[in-house]
Amino acid sequence: MALDSKIPQGPIADKWTNHKNKINLVNPANKRLIDVIIVGTGLAGGSAAATLAELGYNVKAFCFQDSPRRAHSIAAQGGINAAKNYQGDGDSTYRLFYDTVKGGDYRSRESNVHRLAEVSTNIIDQCVAQGVPFARDYGGLLDNRSFGGVLVSRTFYAKGQTGQQLLLGAYSAMNRQIGRGKIKMHTRHEMLDVVIVDGKARGIIARNLVTGEIERHSAHAVVLGTGGYGNAFYLSTYAMGSNVTAAWKAHKRGAYFANPCYTQIHPTCIPVSGDHQSKLTLMSESLRNDGRIWVPKHKKDVEAIRDGSLKPTQLAEDDRDYYLERRYPAFGNLVPRDVASRAAKERCDAGYGVNKTGEAVYLDFASAFMRYGKEQAHVKGLDEDDAILIRKLGQEIVKNKYGNLFQMYEKIVDQNPYETPMMIYPAVHYTMGGIWVDYNLMTTVPGLYAIGEANFSDHGANRLGASALMQGLADGYFVLPYTIGDYLADDIRTGPISIDSKEFDEAEKSATEIIDKLVNNNGTHSVDYFHKKLGKIMWNKCGMARNEKDLKEAITEIAELREEFWKDVKIPGEANEYNEELAKAGRVADFLELGELFAKDALVREESAGGHFRDEYQTPEGEAMRRKEFQFVSAWEFKGEPKDAVLHKEDLVYENIEVKERSYK
């Protein structure tokens, strides 16, 4: 099947408006006759569920957590971008569009990104109307801050809990519709398969995680807002339950999977402390507004810091290497995430890591304390030369901005970041790859949609900070509700979809067989044993830097591990009860397939772009080297085994942005 991205005709700035004017609508009386299933209740799924229900559709929503409010969007910290230009610093729809395409290393679809930039301002208006308490200045107007890879302040925020506040906004909009009976909410349910009838997505198979019951649910369209697949790495900033199962099962039923190798490794996370570690914790990118990243210039100081004989605060300014400011003077500490992560790895690989494992760099707020403190002393008419006072005043300001992050750091590391610099290291954080979708956010399966992180479309090979929340809400509030109507307009006379069909029988049987096999396997090792092994392969061979040899080994090793898993995994308990190990096993089984496709995709992409860095393709300065012949989206078609997946290419055309070297110097 040839890929048709269905990009509307016309100038880029008019495409979305023209498209909206031309597509089919469903009349309000007919919307009542149409059911839509939405899987996942994060920013994308939650906002889509609420909006579709407001429009009059019957929504059936599903989440594996005990409440829609707990989806992992809740953990996003720093903020959400919008081209409001409230700061008057030269922002515009075009600039947000340009920054996002450049930030994605020219590997995203122009038309989708422009639409994202267009609707970004509506998101902020909508959220404020819902009662989202964004940060404000003393005049009562909304405040902004800066994120990496841009030269304006366009990020709206609510301290370090922006994702929480936005998700609670979408959750409240959902609650209003649940109360009205327009959304039927199924919590503690996991989607195990999508059901295709006559070539169209018409329902799902789900498992009730409390009773273990396998259930059939039908609808006229199915929407996946099921997030990313970074937990393939075992250790990541994702929630423990985040998984690829819904997306992967959709892939196996015909949805192409795009750019699986594009993974974001976030530069500022708390370093790994030991083998017991179950997850990694992010320290928001917003901290790079005020924190400066450094390692010692000299190896002897590195040794002294590691053995505890030297404190970082004792090291003279001249003996510190602020390597981002040195290498990228124009953007400094606010370079995009891929660039910052690789720079940290480069210093640590060269032996300058500051903790015992050698995998940590400093994020230091000392100069921000002094800068803010001086300003405060001036405003309050206090002694501007009193260093102790100034430091204290400055710390108060920083506490107001990032207090919860500093507290979180102290709880985990047991060090006070007001007194000593934070230690950070890159960690897996987001996946730009995902299910391939056209301009309407429809996958290659008619009636099956993917929104938010679950799709691939907007971030190219690297996502800019504060753009995930923007994309999730753009898709859910302002894009899908229009585009899905165009498809559903043909379904007004279809009537309810029956769950008593051979397609539902087959899908249920397939899901039940997997569960029976897992629960009766009687192997010797737990699910985590295999998941950790997969994570090690992924991190060591498909991580921040990749090469042909490693990737080929990874493909073989993952396939072997998958075989071992099916022979030897051990699941206690029964299928017909609450059984977390069984749920985990199903997810890890899918990660073991996805991981292999991931490595295969990385192997095929013989270039470096954004988060995908191949050792073989770098400039003499060690920067990523893009190759013109790889200016396409890799969309993989499932053919039985990951190794047999077939590559389809969507060529990327840039008509409104000149593709040039992506420089932050």
Partner: protein
């Protein structure tokens, strides 16, 4: 560290539960409390026993999933943390640790340490929202300036993670801190004032229908709240409720 864990085990909602002893060895002080339970569960699985079921997801103190009583305190001995942020350095070698689920009529046990908190969702469904449709035509976000103090106070109330520690810590199993946090967030914002009357009446009614107890101003909820939600919210809700009742 070597520890003795005394954990509530309960097969299902209708089964009788009991405390079971589990010795655990070689616990690192850098582990989080849940990572320590992960280690125990791995041992149980390898032995062919059922692991201890508990709710958890983000493991960074924001999703509100984790919910356990540790030595008689919601989320354990540290203040301002959820149990996923509690680290083993808060304990000493040789300690005995009691681990139990939230106990409240409105939060029935599902299995082991997992309880059903859907009552909280139903309270929010009764009125925890502002009735505004998504349209793309709402007024500009800066059209109504909001006093920074009010905006910040609304934010502080809105940081509630819905974990239920307030209910579990209250001798009356009252949900007043949870409900008042939502009522306060909206009452403090101009956007929320329009339907403030119905909101507080409907949410309080639902809270009572769910079987939560009354507030007797003991303040245990505020002490145990991992997000430091203030008792002032309860006072504000009482004012809102009184004025709504007089209007209504």
């Amino acid at each position: 560290m070597n520890l003795t864990l005394k954990i509530w085990r309960q097969k299902g909602a209708n089964d009788k539960g009991k405390i079971v002893d589990y010795p655990i060895t070689e616990v690192s002080p850098d582990m989080s409390f849940l990572e320590m339970l992960d280690v125990l569960n791995q041992e149980l699985i390898e032995k062919g026993e059922e692991p201890v079921a508990f709710d958890h997801d983000c493991r960074e103190g924001i999703c509100g999933s984790c919910s356990m009583f540790v030595n008689g305190q919601a989320h354990g001995p540290d203040s301002m943390v959820t149990v996923c942020q509690l680290h083993m350095r808060s304990f000493k070698d040789g300690d005995t640790i009691f681990i139990e689920p939230w106990r409240a009529t409105a939060f029935p046990v599902i299995k082991d340490l997992i309880v059903d908190r859907s009552a909280f969702d139903r309270i929010q469904q009764a009125g925890g929202f502002i009735s505004v449709n998504t349209s793309g035509n709402t007024q500009d976000a800066n059209a109504i300036p909001i006093d920074k103090h009010d905006a910040d106070t609304a934010f502080d109330a809105a940081t509630c993670i819905g974990c239920g520690a307030c209910v579990a810590s209250c001798k009356n199993s009252s949900a007043m801190l949870f409900v008042s946090a939502k009522v306060s967030q909206f009452a403090l914002l101009p956007q929320g004032k329009v339907e403030a009357t119905d909101r507080v009446l409907n949410m309080v009614k639902q809270m009572d229908d769910e079987g939560f107890g009354n507030c007797t101003n003991t303040g245990a909820c505020e002490v145990e709240c991992p997000k430091g939600i203030s008792l002032e919210n309860i006072a504000r809700m009482n004012r809102e409720y009184l004025s709504a009742s007089l209007k209504g």
